[in-house]
């Protein structure tokens, strides 16, 4: 499969979205809304559900399936209010000791004037900083598109995994082509240069694991894809539940602080899976 075919699979409109997974992981899922400041960002779904016998906070970018829903969900592109909603729900989880599962599936934060006017840069910056202070276990999974700061704003976690046909990138191939070539039609070349496939990302030590998808990709069998994701998320979450919050926060700091240790070419580099 070519790199561009993987990008197309990661973005495929039949691909399961966050709520497809969350409702299979926790059938009693109850959605919670609002940032408690001014708005509710529908591009980010959040709420509580029982997962492996424990109340868990689920967060996930949500793309829409129909055109109407896509517009309503803003194609999974969060506004500043979305990051504030995420932190509000993280505080909620911290208060009750609920672990957090974050599913990432976004082309990026919303690139529009309104987002700029309401401080999207600071909202993402603040979210990234605050995730390092959330004293409960967090496991994140890239399930489709992991686009830029909009994705990382939901991606600071103790463990980060990726579905096989998902991508994670500093910028979308179109944006990277626009920046490097000043021509966004060079997206295929940009995608190849960016090394954004799950195999490449795990090779760089940026995620802990690639979760295999069912035959014909996640789009072909939602239940099987959800079972594979569930198994992997839980395998990473389980050991975290026994850690003290100070251990968690120190490890989370170290995980990102030394995520690029490859530059010093240290042997055996890579986040460890306990």
């Amino acid at each position: 499969m070519s790199v561009w075919e993987i990008v197309e699979l990661a973005r495929h409109p039949d691909r399961p979205y966050s709520l497809d997974y969350i409702r299979r992981l926790a059938p009693d899922f109850i959605e919670l809304h609002g940032d408690r400041l001014s708005a509710d960002d529908p591009a980010l779904a959040g709420g509580i559900g029982t997962w492996h016998g424990r109340t868990t906070m689920f967060l996930g970018h949500q793309k829409g399936r129909s055109l109407k829903e896509r517009v309503a969900r803003n194609w999974g592109m969060m506004h500043p209010e979305g990051y504030r909603k995420a932190l509000r729900l993280a505080d909620h989880a911290a208060k009750f000791g609920f672990p957090i599962v974050s599913l990432i599936d976004t082309p990026g934060a919303y690139p529009g004037a309104g987002a700029e006017e309401r401080g999207i840069a600071a909202a993402i910056a603040h979210a990234i900083m605050e995730w390092f202070r959330v004293p409960v276990p967090i496991v994140a999974a890239v399930i489709g598109e992991g686009g830029s700061g909009g994705a990382l704003g939901m991606g600071v976690a103790d463990r980060v995994i990726m579905l096989e046909n998902s991508i994670y990138s500093v910028a979308s191939p179109e944006a990277a082509a626009s920046i490097v070539w000043r021509d966004n039609s060079r997206k295929v070349e940009a995608a190849e240069q960016l090394q954004l496939t799950s195999r490449e990302i795990v090779g760089m030590g940026v995620v802990e694991e690639v979760v295999p998808e069912p035959k014909g990709s996640a789009s072909a069998d939602y239940d099987a894809a959800a079972r594979a994701l569930d198994e992997a998320l839980w395998r990473h979450m389980k050991p975290l539940l026994d850690q003290s919050s100070s251990e968690l926060l120190q490890h989370r700091y170290d995980r990102f602080r030394y995520i690029d240790s490859l530059i010093s070419a240290e042997p055996h580099f890579g986040p460890k899976i306990d």
């Binding site: 934060a109 690139p111 529009g112 004037a113 987002a115 700029e116 006017e117 309401r118 401080g119 999207i120 840069a121 600071a122 993402i124 910056a125 603040h126 990234i128 900083m129 605050e130 390092f132 202070r133 830029s148 700061g149 990382l152 704003g153 991606g155 600071v156 994670y168 990138s169 500093v170 910028a171 944006a175 990277a176 626009s178 920046i179 490097v180 070539w181 966004n184 070349e189 240069q193 960016l194 090394q195 954004l196 990302i201 760089m204 940026v206 989370r252 700091y253 990102f256 602080r257 995520i259 690029d260 490859l262 530059i263």
Partner: protein
């Protein structure tokens, strides 16, 4: 602001003589013919229209640091072409050429004093691949912030950056998390963090450390935002009003505390350092 007035008289507007920079013959702001010497002693701010010229790290350091106080750190941390990036230009060659030109990555950091008060200083250099946040830039920023947090030393940042560096892929994106983890430690330590935003500050740099200062200080007319105007227009077909994403716009939208001319920056920093001992 009487005390600041007093500082303005006592604290020189530059720490040491600034190096010469390449200037156009006429000011892009007002068209007046420019004189290097006059501008150099005026922090490269047009005396006629107050246009602020973009400065590299080699100018920002003597502008802020007391003469002879600058101790640069980690100059030997180097970029590598991790992704084997070849088109349209080989990344390794780009980096090596810039290093030969005397630029040392998109961020330089070290310790110095401002009016005899010790600080950690980090400054972006827009001339090095658009001041993009790279692994080396992130490493220097994180190490400096960790040191400042340990010694509870005030931290001053000067940003000028297009965002994360494409040629380092997802590892460049991870610098936002790496640096913000360190920003969190800096804040927890109680050391003050003064962030100076200059033209331009965008993308991953705006979405990480640049807007997280205890006090955010923008230069007049600086463009500051997350998504650049070209991409906003491409994505939304919106017509952006004049002054969109300017320093003054960000002041009106609550993102920065003040817009301060470059000729007043050093006296202001000197005064703030006294107020946040």
């Amino acid at each position: 602001m009487a005390i600041i007035e007093q500082h303005r008289e006592e604290v020189a507007i530059q720490g040491a003589e600034l190096p010469e920079i390449l200037l156009p013959t006429n000011c892009p702001g007002c068209g007046i013919a420019l004189e290097q010497e006059e501008l150099r002693s005026h922090n490269y701010v047009c005396l006629n229209c107050a246009h602020h010229f973009r400065l590299g790290a080699d100018v920002w350091i003597p502008l802020i640091a007391d003469s002879g106080s600058w101790q640069e750190r980690w100059t030997d941390v180097r970029s590598h072409d991790l992704l084997n990036w070849t088109v349209p230009k080989p990344y390794q060659e780009t980096v090596e050429r810039l290093l030969e030109d005397g630029l040392n990555e998109a961020v330089r950091t070290g310790t110095c004093t401002v009016a005899h008060q010790p600080i950690w200083l980090a400054t972006f250099d827009f001339g090095f691949v658009g001041g993009t946040l790279s692994i080396v830039a992130g490493e220097r920023l994180a190490r400096g912030m960790e040191q400042a947090a340990l010694s509870r030393t005030p931290y001053v940042l000067v940003s000028a950056s297009g965002g994360a560096r494409m040629q380092e892929g997802v590892l460049a994106l991870m610098q936002l998390a790496k640096v913000n983890a360190a920003v969190g430690r800096l804040h927890s330590s109680g050391a003050p963090f003064f962030s100076v935003l200059t033209d331009p500050t965008f993308g991953g740099t705006a979405a990480s450390l640049a807007l997280l200062g205890d006090i955010n200080i923008a230069e007049p007319g600086a463009a500051i935002g997350f998504t650049g105007p070209r991409v906003i227009k491409q994505a939304t077909y919106a017509d952006l009003p004049p002054g969109f994403q300017s320093a003054e716009f960000q002041l009106a939208h609550g993102q920065v505390d003040m817009v301060v001319p470059r000729t007043e920056l050093r006296p202001l920093l000197a005064h703030l350092l006294e107020m946040y001992p």
